[in-house]
C-alpha cells in the first residue's frame, strides 16, 4: 500500500509517500531515528502490519517540518530516504 501523508494547498503538493509493502520487510526502521524533527513513527496499520507512518501532528505541515533538510540549492540526500534501506520513502517536492 502506498500511504501519502501531507497535503495539497494553494502553494503546491507536499506529500511523503511510504510504500508499506516495502516497509514491512524492514526490521530496523532507520527512518525513525534519522529524521531530525522526529516525524516518523511505527504503527500497526488497519491490516495489522507494523509499518512506518508520519506522526499526526506533522501531517499538515510537512513542507515546513522538512525545510531544514531541503535547502534551495546543493540539496544533500534526505536523511529519511537514505536511512530507508528498502527504498520505501519518497517525497513529492
Amino acid at each position: 500500500m502506498k500511504a501519502n501523508y501531507g497535503y495539497l494547498d494553494g502553494s503546491g503538493e507536499f506529500f511523503i509517500t511510504i510504500d508499506t509493502d516495502l516497509c514491512i520487510e524492514c526490521s530496523h526502521h532507520g527512518c525513525v531515528d534519522a529524521c531530525p524533527v522526529g516525524m516518523f513513527e511505527i504503527i500497526v496499520d488497519d491490516y495489522d502490519d507494523k509499518v512506518a507512518a508520519i506522526k499526526e501532528e506533522h501531517r499538515k505541515k510537512v513542507k515546513y517540518d522538512c525545510s531544514a533538510c531541503k535547502p534551495v540549492s546543493d540539496r544533500p540526500p534526505l536523511p529519511c530516504v537514505e536511512a530507508c534501506t528498502p527504498g520505501a520513502i519518497t517525497h513529492s517536492w
Binding site: N4, Y7, D46
Partner: protein
Amino acid sequence: MSRLKGIKMTEEKKEFWRWKEYNWHDEAKDWKGVETITAGVDVGSVSSQVVIMLDGELYAYSNMRTGSDSPDSARKAMSWALEDTGMTLDDIHYIVGTGYGRVNVPFSNRAITEIACHARGGNMMYGSTVRTILDMGGQDCKAIRCDERGKVSNFLMNDKCAAGTGRGMEVFADLLAVSIEDVGEQSLDVEEEPPPVSSTCVVFAKSEATSLLREGWSKKKVLAAYCSAMAHRVVTLLERVGVEKDFAITGGIAKNIGVIKRLEKELNLTSLKSNYDTQIAGALGAALFGKTLIEKQRMKAK
C-alpha cells in the same frame, strides 16, 4: 431607535446548508437468532453514520450531523439507527469506530481508519470491480485505490484545506441562499459553462463569488463556477494516486450532480452508481471489518 420603530429588522435566518438527517431499517429482516450482528460507527467532522449489519447484510442505518461532542454524536447516531428495531446496543456482537472521531466512540471494540473502511464499504456498494474511490467528505477529501477485495493499495487524504470538501459547498449554499440539496441541479441549469472560481481556497472563492454576484452573474452561474472549481480541485488529487477504472464516488458530495457531472467530464470517465446511500460507505466498511474481526476472534477461541 425611534426612527426604526415599526420596521421589521430581519427575517428568521434559514440555514440553507442544513441537509436532511434520516434513519432506515429493513422491516423484512428479523435480527433475532442471527449469528453475527456488527455495527460500524463513522463519526466524521460534519456528519455521523451508523450501519448495522446482520451476517454481513445491511439491516439499518442512520445519518445525522456531528455535534461538538464526538462520543455524544456516536451515541445519538447509534440510538437513531436502533430506533424501532427492538435491538439494543448489547445485542450487537462487534462494533468498529471509524472517521475523524473514531477514537471517541465509547462503545466500539476497535477503531479503523476511514480510508480502509471506505475502500471496504465501496467494494460492497459498487462491486469488486471498483479500483478507484473518491470520498468527498465534510472537511476532507480522500482518493483511494483498492484491489478486488477492497484492500487499500494507494491513498491520499487532504484535510488541510476546505476547498474540495462538503463544508466548502455548504458555505456556498448559504452565501447564495440555495438549499444544499438543490445546488447540483441548479448549477447545471446554465446556458454556457462559466470559468471556475478560485479552487485553491474556499475563503478566496467566496469573496470571488461575491464580486461576481455584484457584476450581475446569476446564482446558477456562480454555483456552476464553484462546482467546476471543486471538480477541478479534486481531479488534481485523484491524478496523484492515479485513476483506474472502475471509478466510484462516496460521501455527501456524491449526491451533488453538478460536481459529479463536471468531474466525470474532466476525467473522461463515468462513475459507478449504487443503490446504497453514498454517505454510509465508511460505516458500512467498518461494519464489514467488524464481521471479519469477530469471526477471527471466534476461530481463535475454538
